[in-house]
């Protein structure tokens, strides 16, 4: 969703002292033995040090290509998140090549990338970052060259891919002078940061009043990195009535999304553009599975075989 979270970026570190608690909510996951609650706002962890065993126990990873697999979760949450389907992709950057693609429509110049337009050899693709009217927001590095300069903000996160395929994260303002640009093959920025400092939830997501709307629910998309170096990408869809309501703005709050990424085992994580922009491709050819979006985007993270 193209939410220009000015408040998130500008006020994240400011504001009055926040009230002590998150809006009341809880999350449960469907298991073979029924629904099991695994997170409560009143007892929300501020530091995720390991995957949540309940969630980890129900994930059934399905490989679709070398280094790429995916699993599904069914969550029950509060309010309009009463049924949320989560598609989780797991990508090993050591076994695929990660790159960023852009596409703009001729004439209108509008953003023009969608999973339908992903390069044929792609084994994974997802819309990356956030965007303005047609241009990506924040820092974009393509083929080792800075395409767009960094965006500011305490809850901005940059995901960097170096020439060996290793992934690095930079949270907060990007100080490009200090980055060894020669080693960066690609990079993009997004917001808000969900997990930083080895699984810590930013204080702005721990309680309201720090510039982030912690009660609004929406369809979400986030990317994170697990402690074993694999990337985790989670896409939520409202699951109330088959696929008919996929794009309704129902889903998790920002704090719940941070919890989901932490519970999946991420140590770093950031939100991507969800809502009608959220889209993901897994696998290739006849074996491919795809979750389409309703809006084309200017930037995509794509994995191709090594």
């Amino acid at each position: 969703m193209r939410r220009l979270a000015v408040a998130v970026l500008a006020l994240g570190a400011a504001g009055a002292a926040p009230p002590p608690t998150l809006p009341q909510s809880a999350l449960a996951v469907w298991t073979p033995s029924g629904w099991q609650e695994w997170w409560q706002s009143a007892a929300a962890p501020r530091h995720w040090t390991a995957p949540d065993p309940t969630l980890a126990g129900v994930l059934r990873w399905r490989p679709v290509a070398d280094g790429v697999s995916w699993a599904e979760l069914r969550l029950a949450g509060s309010g309009e998140a009463w049924r949320t389907r989560v598609v989780v992709a797991r990508i090993d950057p050591r076994r695929v090549r990660l790159r960023l693609d852009t596409a703009f429509a001729a004439g209108s110049g509008r953003a023009a990338w969608s999973v339908r337009d992903a390069r044929p050899e792609a084994v994974f693709a997802v819309n990356a970052g956030q965007f303005l009217h047609s241009m990506p927001w924040g820092w974009v590095v393509l083929d080792g060259r800075q395409f767009l300069s960094p965006g500011p903000g305490p809850l901005a996160s940059a995901v960097l891919f170096d020439t060996t395929g290793a992934v690095r994260w930079m949270h907060g303002d990007v100080v490009t002078d200090s980055v060894n640009r020669a080693a960066i093959a690609a990079a993009f920025q997004s917001y808000p940061t969900l997990l930083t400092h080895d699984g810590r939830v930013p204080f702005q997501l721990q309680a309201p009043g720090a510039g982030v709307d912690l009660s609004h629910r929406d369809a979400r998309l986030a990317i994170g990195e697990a402690r074993d170096g694999t990337l985790l990408v989670a896409l939520t869809r409202f699951d109330g009535a088959g696929t008919a309501f996929d794009f309704l703005p129902f889903g998790l709050t920002t704090a719940e999304m941070a919890a989901l990424m932490g519970a999946l085992g991420a140590r770093d994580a950031v939100m991507l553009d969800g809502g009608i922009s959220g889209q993901m491709l897994l696998g290739t050819g006849d074996a491919a599975v795809r979750w389409a979006g309703l809006r084309k985007v200017p930037l995509a993270l794509v994995a191709v075989p090594r």
Binding site: R3, A112, G240
Partner: protein, 328 residues
């Protein structure tokens, strides 16, 4: 229909839409009208099943009456035209009443005016044309000089890799040689321990910038490469090759494209600010209203049921449809 941004290894190949679909079937917004009824029946079956699920004990009170929600959803899906409150409105998702839709359209018009150029500034489409010209010129240059450029880059990479490795080996040797010196000097030892502590902390919080600073300080501690080291590495790896003349031109065109990209983005930021100011909505309310209006237009285009909108909203959106189609 699309122009391809061909930049080195990231050429985007826009192929015809694949026939594959996700595990839940094609995007419902793209269904042919004839399938609407079948989908509605499917939805009813699914929500009835969902109604039978047990709700986790601790979350039950907050999740609400699942059966009622399922019935409501089923009723909405069967109704063709959306009935009742399909969306939970909050401070971000506002009901698109005629008055709010009017605010949204005012904002969209303000954005359009800004993007079309004001105060003698070039329009966004003019900036895009300049950016695209630079991009296309770069692509042509790359096409006609691709072999020379790739050969240079391959060789330059090999040389750089060899030199980095060779300097690393020399650095490791200096570290080994310096270890005894540091261990026997309390001041150096203290400094070394401080750096180790800082490095561990930076590693824990993935602070790349700090790690690079620490690396530079450690290099100072161990001693920097000497002229003799550089001469050795030159002999072993050679020097980086001379870049082909086209590369400087390519760099210049790509820098120009990036500058136009920055200008475009700045104009879009300004236009978004004017849109928000013109609408009287917040940034988030404006973005969500725009997104839902786009969703409505997709439903119109695919002749799908207006799922996710109240009757009031559908009436208001129907009345302003042509304006929305023009502005979005």
């Amino acid at each position: 229909m699309f122009y391809l941004k061909a930049r080195g290894h990231r050429t985007v190949l826009l192929t015809p839409a694949h026939s594959m679909s996700g595990p839940e079937g094609p995007n419902p917004m793209r269904h042919a009208p004839a399938r609407s009824f079948r989908r509605a029946v499917h939805s009813l079956a699914v929500v009835c099943l969902l109604g039978a699920f047990s709700v986790p004990q601790g979350a039950a009170g907050q999740i609400g009456n699942v059966g009622k929600k399922a019935r409501d959803a089923a009723g909405r899906a069967m109704g063709g035209q959306q009935q009742g409150e399909a969306v939970q409105f909050d401070n971000v998702t506002l009901e698109l009443t005629p008055a709010r839709l009017d605010q949204l359209i005012k904002g969209l018009r303000a954005r359009r005016a800004a993007l079309d150029g004001r105060g003698g500034e070039p329009s966004v489409s003019a900036l895009r044309a300049q950016r695209d010209a630079a991009s296309n010129a770069a692509s042509e240059l790359r096409s006609s000089n691709g072999r020379d450029i790739d050969t240079y880059r391959d060789r330059a990479y090999q040389v750089k890799y060899c030199r980095d490795e060779a300097f690393n080996e020399k650095r490791n040797a200096r570290e080994e040689a310096s270890r005894n010196r540091i261990m026997s000097d309390p001041v150096l030892l203290q400094k070394f321990m401080e750096l180790s502590q800082r490095a561990a902390e930076a590693q824990q919080r993935s602070d790349t910038a700090e790690l690079l600073r620490i690396q530079a300080e450690a290099d100072n501690l161990y001693g920097k490469p000497t002229k003799a080291d550089s001469a050795d590495v030159d002999r072993k790896c050679g020097r980086s090759p001379t870049p082909p003349p086209a590369l400087a031109r390519l760099d210049s065109l790509q820098a120009l494209e990036a500058r136009f990209g920055e200008r475009l983005r700045q104009r879009e930021r300004e236009a978004d600010s004017l849109a928000v100011a013109g609408s009287g909505l917040t940034t988030e309310q404006m973005a969500m209203g725009e997104e839902r209006a786009q969703m409505y237009l997709t439903q119109v285009e695919t002749e799908s049921a207006h799922i996710g909108f109240t009757k009031t909203e559908v009436a208001a959106l129907d009345a302003r449809r042509e304006e929305l189609e023009d502005l979005l």
